[in-house]
């Protein structure tokens, strides 16, 4: 069993997914993220997939589930770093990760989370997605 570490940076939890994880490793990550969200009270989750060489329908759905679950708890999720070959395979597989916000790299992902969070507690928006 491989543990995916979750680190907290300011108002965001960051999980960097290693390559070739078991389904159960990813399910454990889902539970860890939800529990850490509750404990820490942060507003954002960033999942870095740049090390993942294969994303199949199980992992694709789990990413959607993580994002939806985080939303139910009041946090936004962004998935960053999907490799070009992985993106092409996912599309051919028939998945579009609907409901999952994506960004090219961690910097852009963090910028989006920041903006969303300003909207939530700030003055001009609905903080919704």
């Amino acid at each position: 069993m491989v543990h995916v570490p979750i680190i907290r940076v300011a108002d965001t939890l960051i999980a960097t997914v290693q390559d070739e994880l078991l389904d159960s490793d990813m399910l454990a990550l889902q539970e860890d993220l939800a529990a850490t969200l509750e404990r820490s009270g942060v507003g954002g989750v960033l999942i870095d997939l740049s090390a993942a060489a294969t994303v199949d329908s199980f992992l694709g759905r789990l990413l959607s589930d993580i994002a939806t679950g985080a939303r139910l708890m009041g946090a936004n999720t962004v998935v960053v770093g999907i490799q070009p070959a992985v993106a092409i395979s996912l599309v051919e597989l028939g998945l579009d990760l609907k409901g999952v916000h994506t960004a090219l790299n961690p910097e852009r992902g963090l910028a989006w989370l920041l903006k969303m969070n300003d909207n939530r507690s700030g003055s001009n928006g609905r903080g919704q997605h």
Binding site: E20, L21, L22, D23, S24, A53, T54, V55, D56, S57, F58, G60, R61, Q83, P84, A85, V86, I88, S89, L90, E92, L93, G94, L95
Partner: protein, 146 residues
């Protein structure tokens, strides 16, 4: 899981992965990627092949008796279409009663998305499914590159 690779001047590359649990989903797609790399497939094809294998082996783990089965990977004799890889994912499980239905995107009898079989067909050049109720399931997939 057990791997056996043989590759010399005359004979074709061949590997085998025994499936008995979720760890073999990873083992099988690693073997597939390794062979795809050795045969000169590009990174997108490597990813397509690994993704298809991942779907098929997860189905064995989920649906076959005791989650047991086997993956055979081999290089195809080269043809005008170029170099080819063939993967055979087989189990002695309950089989698929209605194949047309199973190939329909979104159809599932389990916890999945029902995209595995239709998606595999799109990812690969050729997909053959040999299955019927009570007779197990054998899925053969092929991909070529010039």
């Amino acid at each position: 899981m057990s791997n056996g690779t043989s590759n010399n001047g005359t004979s074709k590359m061949e590997m085998r992965v025994t499936v008995s649990g979720e760890g073999d989903i990873v083992a099988a797609r690693q073997a597939a990627r390794q062979m795809a790399i050795a045969l000169g497939f590009g990174s997108v094809d490597q990813s397509r092949i690994a993704t298809a294998v991942s779907e098929l082996v997860r189905n064995v783990v989920r649906y076959a008796n005791g989650g047991r089965g086997e993956v055979l990977l081999h290089e195809l004799p080269s043809t005008p279409r170029g170099v080819g890889i063939e993967l055979v994912v087989a189990d002695d499980g309950p089989g698929i009663a209605d194949l047309d239905l199973a190939l329909h995107p979104g159809y599932t009898t389990g916890p999945g998305l029902g995209m595995g079989l239709p998606g595999t067909r799109r990812l690969m050049d050729e997909t053959t499914i040999d299955s019927s109720h009570g007779r197990g399931t054998t899925v053969t997939i092929r991909k070529w590159h010039r």
